[in-house]
Symmetry: none
Subunit: 411 residues, 2 copies
């Protein structure tokens, strides 16, 4: 079986956005053994879109479209699919009811063009879109399939990973694949590849490393006659990876580092507070992205100015004047102060120089002190991240979670 992607949007051609949605489909297809040899991108133009779809349908079994499902006149994907499949657009009262329901609380935003989204090719089945207005569509006609997905990331991702993944699994039953992701933190990608080169060079199972900020995900994938057999082939490779990296393997599957940290806290019935300077709230924001994080996370103090550090966290003036805000002493006082202010069992603090300005010879841009507080008192560690302002902030948040996890694992 083969598939092809047609990305729709003048903003992609103009380079205003980069097409990471197509990348995500590209990563999914091999997991189902689906061949993928072509990709096309067209602007918001009905004739060219139809031509691209016809070409794709002539040579591929499944055609994915990305984008062009919204309410505006630029959104032509529904029309293009109907024309390329020689089908007609019909009005779907269920979609209309769903759309009207979405606008119940803000009738002023309802304009007639929203109804375009209630049209769909007759041969299509709508895919619910809990994160937006336009549904996705699976269109099946004449032995060919078009899967139409919305462009906005927050709508596209869940639809691809949910109903579309399920659909592809049903379509490709027979030859089966299984895969598992091992998540490794605190070791660089090159060092990881060096240690498990023989696994990465293997062909079945394959091991593919994906570098993220401050962590690497190792996807192990096996092909076999049955899902069970493929699953069995994964285990020896996963074991070898766990043995190679020990506790640096923080999770398997989709669990994130912040979820692991929250689980460790829950297991100890302990609470957490944070104190942030250069990250400005990024650590708290990341922790609270986890539903139910309120079980363990009580709150945080964003102390951007020195005055706030003194006032809200009780960092002694002498620490600030003698050692500065970016120091071991300040990081430890911040962590202890946050735990005290919020009556938390554990606390983490971040104070550093994210840049682009503010660096000195002794403390260059990228210098970050991370403090922690818990049973046994306060500690701190120094890091130097050679990244952009945004990169320094993301690395600092990641490193704070890594240190907190290590501390929680101690007991």
């Amino acid at each position: 079986m083969t598939a092809e992607i047609v990305s729709v949007g003048t903003e992609i051609l103009l380079g205003q956005i980069v097409d990471t949605n197509a990348q995500q489909i590209g990563q999914l297809l091999p997991q189902f053994g689906i061949g993928h040899f072509w990709r096309q991108t067209v602007g918001d133009n009905l004739d060219r879109l139809t031509e691209a779809l016809r070409l794709a349908l002539s040579r591929s079994d499944i055609v994915f479209t990305i984008g062009g499902l919204g309410p505006t006149q630029d959104d032509l994907t529904r029309d293009g699919i109907a024309r390329a499949l020689d089908d007609e657009l019909i009005h779907d009262p269920e979609i209309e009811a769903h759309l009207r329901d979405l606008f119940r609380h803000r009738p002023e935003a309802w304009v007639g063009s929203q109804l375009r989204q209630a049209m769909r090719p007759r041969c299509s089945t709508p895919l619910p879109n809990p994160n937006g207005t336009a549904p996705g569509l699976i269109c099946e006609k004449g032995g060919k399939t078009v899967i139409a997905l919305p462009g906005p990331k927050g709508e596209f991702g869940p639809m691809l990973e949910g109903p579309v993944r399920d659909y592809l699994a049903r379509r490709t039953q027979g030859g089966a694949i299984a895969s598992r992701v091992l998540r490794v933190c605190g070791i660089g990608e090159a060092a990881i590849e060096d240690r498990i080169r023989h696994l990465i060079d293997g062909s079945n199972p394959t091991v593919a490393p994906y570098a993220k900020i401050g962590e690497v995900h190792l996807r192990v994938t096996a092909f076999a006659a049955s899902r069970e057999e493929a699953e069995r082939m994964l285990e020896p490779v996963a074991r070898e990876i766990r043995e190679a990296f020990g506790p640096a393997v923080y999770a398997e599957g989709s669990q994130t580092l912040e979820e692991v940290v929250l689980d460790l806290l829950r297991g100890r019935r302990a609470t957490l507070a944070v104190a942030e300077s250069c990250t400005g709230g990024g650590l708290g924001h990341r922790i609270t992205a986890v539903p139910g994080s309120s079980d363990a996370f009580v709150g945080g103090l964003v102390t951007y100015s020195n005055e706030a550090k003194a006032r809200l966290l009780g960092v002694p003036e002498s620490v600030l004047s003698e050692h500065g805000a970016v120091s071991s002493q300040c990081a430890e006082a911040m962590a202890a102060g946050a735990a005290r202010a919020l009556s938390a069992d554990y606390a983490v603090s971040i104070t550093g120089i994210a840049g682009p300005a503010g660096g000195t010879e002794e403390k260059p841009v990228g210098t970050v002190w991370i403090g922690s507080y818990g049973p046994g008192g306060a500690r701190s560690a120094r890091f130097l991240f050679r990244n952009s302002r945004q990169g320094v902030r993301e690395r600092a948040v990641q490193q704070a979670l890594i240190l907190l996890r290590e501390r929680l694992l101690e007991g």
Copy 2:
């Protein structure tokens, strides 16, 4: 004149890399008024590459290829171009001399396959590659042009911005474009299009809307004989947009909403504090992403638990027990409390139910109260965002900035 990109590389189809080179060409073409309606991506396969090139040459004046110029057997772009242009590959002794010179100091790395890179279509002119081995190629035959560029970023970028830019300038002498982005907040995309439909339907200048979270960017683009003339054509359209949406146009160009808010604060020599519940630090994180935000932003309090709201912000227990944490009263007490705790002139607060759990009939998931404090006291407003947890949090942060800006504009 029209151009089309053919990106070559199985690693792009598999999603192992994202095609930012094509994005960079996409950004360059409009600067020369070159139309760009198609993009194709193919793997490292000679037949498919040739087919893609023939299709591109049949409908576009200039075809860019990216990648596939290296020394390995996978590198097939030279062969594909020769076939698609009905040309032959010839050996270029100057390229060979350059290659051998590059390996002078590491003869052990020289393998015979390096010589593949000394082959080029007879109709081509090589483009020097100071940052790698394979030269780029400009091939001109039968009124069509193929420009072949290497894939590695460090080779691609300088070649595109240097000799290719110069070549395009010579080819398109005269014609120029200008564009400007107007940023509109607090009005939905469909409502915006409804109001300026006649501008969006126009052809020169064009107006293209791009929806972001809680804001829409309108890109106005004009083509003319000279840059100055194109610039002049933009202004009447920009004025009409500003008149249509009034103060909802918060910036022109690349300035972000948080930068605008920080500038307004600086203009008033005023300071800002934030209090966040469901966004967990996201508002502070976004504001502090701006370098130099410490001029105005003093800090924030992330009060995730009710206890933290009472303790750090002084939200009265009676408010929490009678109205709950997601209420007008709590939002206003949080904003006033943050301003007090951090001695700030202005404060914004966010308290809501991001979901997926925690909703009730009266306060469904997505309910968010946003409070503000400033000269004149505290205020609040209620919102209902129908998004995922992540979406609710992002919309809430955006809305807090919108309300803060409105308040700062009052005086």
